[in-house]
């Protein structure tokens, strides 16, 4: 599928231990459905990170090696957001991407990370129930 005209072409979703399953996976899979090139970025590329309930994921790249730009960054919530808010590598990456023009979107406690990096938030929702409206905004109708 071709990405929506005017919508994101390349997105990044941040992850670390303690992420909330739906706040992380819905964006990743929804971007794939929409044809958006989506990368999962974590503290280490070759490590497995687990959700609060134990759902595993291995990132595509580490936050320290993810140099190429993207036009949208999604920060899911959960305890993971509290960890990322204290992760200098993740904050530096977020600051760099936002400085290069990437829009930042947060879900739940993901707002803590944006605040810690001092980057503006373009759109946000409070929890998983807000994901449909958030992605209607990001990707357009249907």
């Amino acid at each position: 599928m071709t990405p929506t005209v005017g919508g994101p072409q390349r997105a990044a979703v941040l992850v670390t231990d303690g992420y909330l399953d739906l706040e992380f996976w819905y964006p990743v899979l929804r971007f794939r459905e929409a044809g958006v090139d989506v990368a999962i970025l974590g503290p280490e590329a070759d490590s497995t990170f687990y959700s609060t309930l134990g759902y595993p994921v291995v990132p595509d790249k580490s936050t320290s090696e993810a140099a190429e730009n993207c036009d949208l960054v999604v920060i899911p919530g959960g305890a993971a957001a509290e960890r990322l808010a204290g992760d200098e590598g993740a904050l530096a990456l977020l600051s760099s991407l936002a400085g290069a023009g990437a829009r930042v979107v947060t879900i739940g406690k993901g707002a803590l990370v944006a605040a810690a990096a001092n980057v503006p938030v373009e759109a946000q929702c409070q929890d998983a129930d807000g994901l449909p409206q958030l992605f209607r905004t990001l990707l357009g109708a249907d």
Binding site: R30, R32, E33, T52, Y55, L131, P132, D142
Partner: protein, 222 residues
């Protein structure tokens, strides 16, 4: 029919696979559809394999099959519990036989087999139950999504994007609702994807002095 006009029912039971239930629910809500979660009972909590709770909006027996445009059957191990419910199996069969769209992913092939709607059909499923769908008379195809008329099937959680895209294409081919919607739940709050306390699976004895047990769910700490 536009996605935003569709009435979509998603089945739930204990040990459902998290993304195979919630991605369709959230995805179709994003498109404006009215999505309800259906279980053997109304207002019953079911736990995912890992502990995400979902509370059913309505019981399978309370819905007229013609009031459902699309019936989604998630996988995980929930299909083992679903096939124990005559109401659930009856609903699946009648939605299918009445021309509604039935969409099944992963282990949900078991439900198709129990409903007797797999015979002679092209479908896919999680590879581990390939032999079961073959025994039910289906033609197994190893592809991310397979559509055979009003039957849409996928394999695993990674397939939910193409699974839902195919369902949306099928909805676009529907002319109108088949039923009046008289049994469809009135507008109001629907099953929530947000939770404060996870659920846990609980084994309940099947009777006095028996080694058999059944699986239920409860909130952690309760």
């Amino acid at each position: 029919m536009k996605l935003g006009e569709a009435r979509i029912a998603v089945l739930a039971e204990n040990q459902y696979q998290e993304l195979e239930l919630w991605y369709p629910v959230l995805r179709f809500r994003e498109g404006g559809a009215d999505v309800v979660v259906v279980g053997p009972k109304t207002a019953q909590m079911y736990s995912s394999k890992l502990g995400i709770p979902v509370v059913s909006d309505v019981a399978a027996a309370a819905l007229a099959p013609d009031d459902i445009d699309v019936l989604v059957i998630p996988g995980g191990f929930a299909p083992e519990a679903m096939r124990k419910s005559a109401d659930v199996i009856d609903l699946v069969r009648k939605v299918h036989d009445g021309g509604g769209i039935v969409a099944a992913i992963c282990h949900a092939g078991w439900v198709l087999a129990s409903a007797g709607i797999a015979k002679g059909r092209q479908l896919t499923c999680v590879p581990v139950i390939r032999d079961d769908v073959l025994a039910a008379g289906a033609e197994y195809i190893d592809k991310p999504v397979v559509r055979d008329g009003n039957l849409i099937t996928s394999r695993l959680p990674n397939d939910v994007p193409v699974f839902c895209a195919e369902i949306i294409r099928a909805i676009s081919e529907l002319d109108a609702h088949r039923g009046s919607g008289a049994t469809w739940p009135a507008p109001g709050p629907r099953a929530s994807a947000a939770y404060d306390v996870p659920a846990r699976l609980v084994q309940a004895p099947a009777g006095r002095a028996t080694a058999n047990y059944t699986t239920t769910s409860a909130l952690v700490g309760s």
